[in-house]
């Protein structure tokens, strides 16, 4: 058990709700940073994520070419299906588009879809899990039956129907992802909430006058935080993979390029077997980013289940 | 001398470094006696038990000048021989929270029979007879052999565990906190039963507890343990009537008694020392109201203060004054 270093003794308590929240948030982030840093794979994952975020943010300035422009090589020919080389580090597509620029442009969309869907799904899942777990009884039944129904929904048919009804757009892709991904986190967080509900510190809070909502969010919430962060990271990983699958199958937004979309272009072009570079770049990127998030979530596993540390 | 330990040290590894849970302990237990080891949490008594039975985790160092049991040198005995000859046969343990050590899906009698047959080549019939005999010794009705643990009350489960420990008539029966969480009536009955067992079997009993009431009732001799060391050792009655060590005096002060309703309870301020950084001097120096500078510097040796009585305190000469002052609350909380 690592003892928390005692804060400086003379630090005055910040008054005012907002400032307390900010101080608490800062503490939480610092604490989390330490957790991730302690785990080697987690640190590696974090580096990858930060790098991807950097590329996502500064993409437009980093791209050497317009991702949709058909380019010519120095000698004037169209740069069609060029292998990776000095001029085009990741190669080009059959339409003479620079793969590097495409990858950079797609990073932003992929990250946004992954992060947003991941975060929304954990938000939904965590709240459902907390509320179902805490209240039990009818509320729990209803929420869990809902979760069961959603478990029964297969991803592919669902997104096909969505697209058929409403057309292809980022919004629906994200909706489909969220619907699929929140399920597991809801169940797991519900299970932990049920376990925590029995602990005496919950009775303590109740005896001191805390309302149900206060108990859920102020008392139980912080205790499920490690599990929550674990599943956040996991959900984001799932979201990215799901989005890649959807885009690859052709259900993505045609106006927003993602890594899965690049693979789709490859597939449609028919050059899958010959343009290995076109295949390698997005695939590796997907694998790397998803693994990064999973590694980070593994770093939280130790915190969520301290016994793993003893071995 | 059944068990003799001199300068026993047990050091185990933890995330924060080495912890010296037992720090130079001297202990001797004779045949056919009940030795009570009393100490609070963190004093090292559970580690001591584990060390004696080789149940310590890996990377734990057990060192001593002497550690002899019935002629065997326990420090040098190979693990296989220890397992075969000593564990369960000569030294048996009734562990802490023994009540939870029973397999809930197996009948109690069957579990003991299995234990017997795992450690010896006894026939099933003979093993069964032995269990019946043991049940009689511990005061459980024979028909309970065919019941499941959940049908036993807490006190009964405890007795079943004692029966399991007595299977091979060990020379030394070690009971680690036999009575925590037991209701007063059940506890009294169990202690009475322990005394009765003691009459019928030849075993010595090492009784480990934090409850001096239990010790007063059950033990022939008492050792008071603090911060990994034995600070006082004496036969029970003299220990209670005339304690020598300030910690013993403090313990007595802190214990309520229905025989002395008007007496004010005095707690001992402070807390036990951190054993990952054991103090150079006396372990109790940080909390002792009679402390002198020399107490922090050097460890007080265990001194014979009377026949069969040992106390590890530098100030044994001032004992009369110490005893009188210890009875006042202001001495401890000024």
């Amino acid at each position: 058990m690592n003892p928390e270093p005692l804060d400086s003794v003379a630090a005055p308590m910040p008054t005012g709700g907002m400032r307390r929240w900010a101080a608490a948030l800062r503490r939480e982030l610092a604490h989390n940073w330490r957790i991730i840093r302690a785990d080697r794979l987690g640190s590696f994952g974090m580096v990858v994520i930060v790098f991807a975020a950097f590329v996502a943010v500064f993409g437009p300035w980093l791209m050497p070419h317009d991702p949709y422009a058909s380019l010519r090589m120095t000698d004037g020919r169209m740069a069609v299906l060029q292998q990776p080389g000095a001029e085009f580090p990741l190669g080009t597509t059959n339409l003479a588009r620079d793969l590097l620029s495409q990858m950079i442009a797609a990073t932003r969309t992929t990250m946004i879809i992954g992060l947003v869907s991941g975060l929304i799904s954990i938000f939904i899942g965590a709240n459902i899990g907390l509320i179902a777990g805490y209240y039990g009884g009818r509320v729990d039944n209803v929420l869990m039956r809902l979760t069961d129904i959603v478990y029964g929904m297969p991803f592919l048919p669902f997104i096909i129907v969505l697209i058929a009804l409403f057309g292809r757009s980022i919004g629906f892709v994200m909706l489909a992802i969220v619907v699929i991904v929140w399920r597991t986190s809801a169940r797991v967080i519900r299970a932990q909430t049920i376990a925590l509900k029995q602990r005496q510190f919950v009775a303590f809070a109740r005896a001191r006058g805390a309302s149900d909502l206060r108990i859920i969010y102020r008392h139980i919430g912080p205790n499920i935080l490690p599990l929550l962060l674990l599943y956040t990271s996991f959900n984001i990983a799932w979201a990215i993979v799901t989005e890649a699958s959807a885009s690859f199958l052709g259900f993505g937004d045609p106006n927003a390029l993602t890594w899965g979309g690049i693979l789709q272009d490859l597939w449609v072009s028919g050059y899958t077997r010959r343009a290995w570079w076109w295949f390698a770049a997005p695939s590796l990127a997907i694998v790397l980013l998803v693994s990064a998030f999973v590694f980070v979530s593994r770093a939280y596993e130790v915190v969520a289940n301290p016994r793993l540390a003893d071995r | 001398m059944l068990l003799e330990a001199r300068n026993l040290c047990v050091t185990y590894r933890s995330v924060h470094g080495d912890v010296r849970a037992v720090d130079g302990l001297d202990l001797s237990i004779s045949e056919h006696e009940v030795f009570g080891l009393v100490g609070e949490s963190g004093c090292g008594k559970t580690t001591l038990v584990k060390a004696l039975l080789r149940l310590v985790p890996a990377q734990t160092r057990v060192e001593a000048d002497v550690l002899r049991f019935k002629g065997h040198n326990l420090l040098e005995l190979p693990q296989r021989r220890f397992r075969r000859e000593i564990l369960m046969r000569e030294i048996a343990l009734v562990p802490q929270s023994a009540q939870n050590s029973l397999n809930p899906v197996q009948r109690v009698g069957a579990q003991i029979v299995e234990a017997i047959r795992a450690h010896s080549s006894t026939s099933r019939g003979k093993a069964h007879e032995r269990v019946a005999e043991l049940f009689d010794i511990v005061g459980l009705q024979p028909e309970l052999m065919d019941r499941f643990p959940h049908e036993f009350s807490g006190g009964m489960r405890q007795r079943a565990m004692i029966a399991m420990a007595l299977v091979f008539e060990p020379a030394l029966l070690v009971m680690d906190e036999p009575t925590p969480g037991l209701d007063v009536l059940v506890q009294e009955r169990l202690l009475r039963r322990i005394r009765a067992i003691r009459e019928r079997v030849q075993s010595s009993i090492l009784l480990i507890t934090h409850d001096i009431g239990v010790i007063a009732e059950t033990a022939d001799r008492v050792g008071v343990m603090y911060a990994g060391r034995l600070v006082e050792c004496a036969p029970t009655l003299p220990l209670f009537e005339q304690p020598w060590h300030p910690y013993t005096l403090g313990l007595k002060n802190a214990f309520p008694s229905i025989l002395e309703l008007g007496r004010e309870l005095i707690s001992i301020p402070g807390s036990p020392p951190d054993l990952s950084n054991p103090p150079a001097g006396c372990g109790f120096a940080g909390r002792c109201p009679f402390v002198l500078d020399v107490c922090h510097a050097t460890r007080p040796p265990a001194v014979d203060v009377a026949t069969g009585r040992v106390s590890a305190c530098t100030r044994t000469a001032d004992i009369e004054h110490i005893r009188a002052a210890a009875a006042e609350k202001v001495t401890w909380h000024c």
Binding site: A207, R208 | A216, S267
Partner: protein
């Protein structure tokens, strides 16, 4: 007028049967942890409840702290019926009645610091604004013996058992309750620390003027700390007396056995013989009448009806047919 008055409070609940039992239409199992309990606590008094597991003392604490509801009966606080409360009234009740928990290792939220733990009641009950809380909480920490400069920012795992329990006490007292219910607060602490915590409770009761209901299975502690002690067995109240009277002249056969069985730190003490037989039962489907009768050496046929509580000496009441019969015979 008594501060708290409990009148004929009963708690029953059903537990499930196995499928086989349901098919065979066997009656459901009832657990009856508290049966027809009546007592009162005066202002400033420290009342103890002693009993073994299953006697109903913890359930009584939970009912009075409103962590669970009574099945029947009334609870009066300061003359007002508080048996069923709306949530607003419940909040008000909680400013008057607080609970101290048994387990210092489980009752404190591991993610909250000492300051926040003590501030929980005033914040949850919206008693004071933050500046006021920032003034009162450190004062309360100092009052229980934990200097705020060193303890306010600590997490539970940075404190010892005794220190945690003091935080628990501070968190209960900060809202200035009039009644504090203490559910075995020292049973999980080391012996040498207990006295300090018990003294803290008693001294603060005197200084701050609150009443205390102290529950324990350890009679030695109760007789040391409490003015009066009640004895419970399997949900029924058997005897009430001052500490001294209870120990010097226990009347009920169960109380006599309890007093005889108490561990005493004196090896020369000769324990009086204990005559009760059998094992402690669980409060499942108990028979009518006195629930101690199956184990009582003086059980009579009339014991299948519940004995009423009767005064046998000033301030000393007992619910036992045998005791009352013996008294009547003496008088006759």
């Amino acid at each position: 007028m008594a501060l708290l008055s409990v009148e004929h409070v009963t708690k029953h609940y059903r537990i499930g049967r196995s499928l086989g039992a349901a098919l065979r239409r066997l009656p459901p199992n009832w657990i009856k942890p508290v049966e027809d309990l009546s007592f009162s606590i005066a202002e400033g008094e420290i009342l103890g409840i002693v009993g073994e597991s299953g006697c109903g003392k913890s359930t009584t604490c939970n009912i009075l702290a409103k962590l669970t509801d009574a099945t029947s009966g009334r609870v009066l606080f300061d003359g007002e019926d508080v048996t069923h409360l709306s949530s607003a009234a419940l909040a008000r009740y909680r400013t008057q009645v607080q609970l101290i928990f048994q387990d210092p290792f489980d009752s404190l939220n591991p993610r909250l610091r000492a300051f926040d733990l003590v501030a929980e009641a005033p914040r949850a009950l919206r008693l004071w604004d933050e500046p006021e809380i920032a003034r009162r909480v450190p004062r309360m920490l100092a009052f229980v013996g934990l200097p705020p400069e060193r303890y306010a920012q600590r997490y539970p795992h940075q404190m010892s058992g005794g220190e945690r329990q003091r935080v628990g006490i501070a968190s209960a007292l900060v809202a200035e309750p009039r009644l504090v219910i203490a559910d075995e607060p020292v049973s999980m602490l080391d012996v040498s620390i207990r006295a300090g915590v018990m003294d803290l409770l008693r001294d603060s009761s005197r200084r701050l003027g609150f009443s205390c209901l102290y529950v324990s299975h350890d009679l030695s502690i109760l007789t040391h700390l409490c003015d009066r002690v009640m004895v419970m067995y399997l949900g029924q109240l058997l005897e009430v007396a001052t500490s001294k009277d209870l120990v010097r002249s226990p009347r009920h056969p169960y109380t006599r056995a309890l007093v005889a069985a108490v561990p005493v730190p004196d090896p020369s003490y000769k324990r009086p013989p204990i005559e009760i037989k059998g094992e402690l039962a669980k409060p499942v489907n108990p028979p009518p009448g006195c629930r101690f009768a199956p184990r009582c050496p003086q059980a009579m046929t009339v014991c299948s009806t519940t004995p009423p509580m009767q005064t046998v000496a000033p301030g000393h009441t007992v619910a036992c047919h045998a005791v009352v019969t013996a008294l009547e015979r003496k008088v006759a």
